[in-house]
Symmetry: C2
Subunit: 205 residues, 2 copies
DNA sequence: GTCTATACACTGATAGAC
DNA sequence: GTCTATCAGTGTATAGAC
């Protein structure tokens, strides 16, 4: 049916989509959802207006696509640690390792920024917050691990929900502050994140 | 000259300005700089289009005004702690107290959110980033205190700049996550913030 | 000839400004 | 209330592979 070979077509499709995605990531990260214009995304991608709209039906759908990719990166980073063998505390340490390794790479930083923007402006983008909450379910796996690690004395005592929030807040906060500071990014260690959960009464659990 | 008494006039001016500021704070916090419209701010303030433009020359100037107020709240919170008497570590503990007490009140939360938005979208608002950096100089007073507290063994060892960043990141991160969670806000204690700086080898410095 | 990628002028709506 | 600029989104047309 297809005049061009199917493979070639798919190649072109995914090439173009990847170009648009990359350009949109950069533009949205810099200007925010409302501040970014399709014009900017077209210029950044080097593609025409018609083509961009050929692949994505709307600005909103492009943003949703980026949010989905951000969630996927995050979920993979978490899942790989939380599904690893070992005690609850070992899993938490593994998670800190993964975060330190992945969250501050150039691409991940931009995706994290997309999530921050989604959080702060989500109310003005219909359906976005619901979409995010639905796909953030993997976060819920951490609090039970904290509770388990509290029982073994490795995690700090106190409200597990607050400890959990502190952990996530610290990661997001770092992303925000290190956007343009590559030198400091290199100094991020897993220990920084684990520290907010660790029980100081029992050093080095 | 003035048909109305001078005092009355000034009263009206500050009333109107306060109304606009309050409305703008809420609208910008919810929709972001670009997502917010002057229409929304006018409706939220209950004032006419003409009056709003009488008090502020542009949308941009309103946002700058909010950023300045946010910086002022932050500076006061920090200064009051860092200028207090006592050791370096005591000042840090006082700072955590102030932050826990002030940063999560309804008004401060919104101002913090304005700062987050300014950070993430600042590049698309001319002059904003420079403006913010100029007025964030008070942040620079914390790292020396950390270094001093490291010498006395109260602060954790390690790169003071990273510890400083972790402290600030944690505060900002909490603000971001607790926007719509008043129940959890109540549970925030100074200890959560101090913990990221404390030396676990010497509990309770 | 047919299908798909691509280009771009245009439209309608709405925002900021005054 | 009005003016003007600009945005998201569309309609139509061309190019080229098969």
């Amino acid at each position: 049916m297809s005049p061009r070979g199917k493979k070639l077509n798919e190649q072109m499709r995914s090439d173009a989509k990847a170009k648009i995605t990359k350009a949109a990531l950069e533009v949205f990260a810099e200007y925010g959802y409302h501040g970014a214009t399709m014009e900017q995304i077209m210029k950044a991608s080097g593609l025409s207006k018609g083509l961009v709209y050929h692949y994505f039906p709307s600005k909103e759908k492009i943003f949703f696509h980026l949010v989905d990719k951000a969630l996927e990166i995050s979920r993979n980073t978490w899942k790989e640690a939380l599904d690893s063998p070992g005690t609850a505390w070992e899993k938490i340490e593994k998670l800190s390792e993964n975060v330190a390794k992945i969250a501050f790479t150039d691409e991940s930083s931009l995706y994290s920024l997309i999530m921050v923007q989604a959080t702060t402006q989500g109310k003005s983008i219909p359906g976005l917050m619901e979409h995010i909450f639905q796909h953030l379910a993997f976060y819920n796996e951490l609090p039970p691990l904290i509770i388990e690690a509290q029982k073994s004395g490795e995690a700090a005592p106190g409200d597990p929900q607050i400890l959990f929030l502190a952990y996530v807040a610290l990661i997001q906060g770092f992303v925000l502050f290190l956007l343009n500071d590559d030198e400091t990014k290199k100094k991020i260690t897993p220990e920084i994140f684990t520290k907010v959960l660790r029980n100081p009464g029992k050093p080095n659990g």
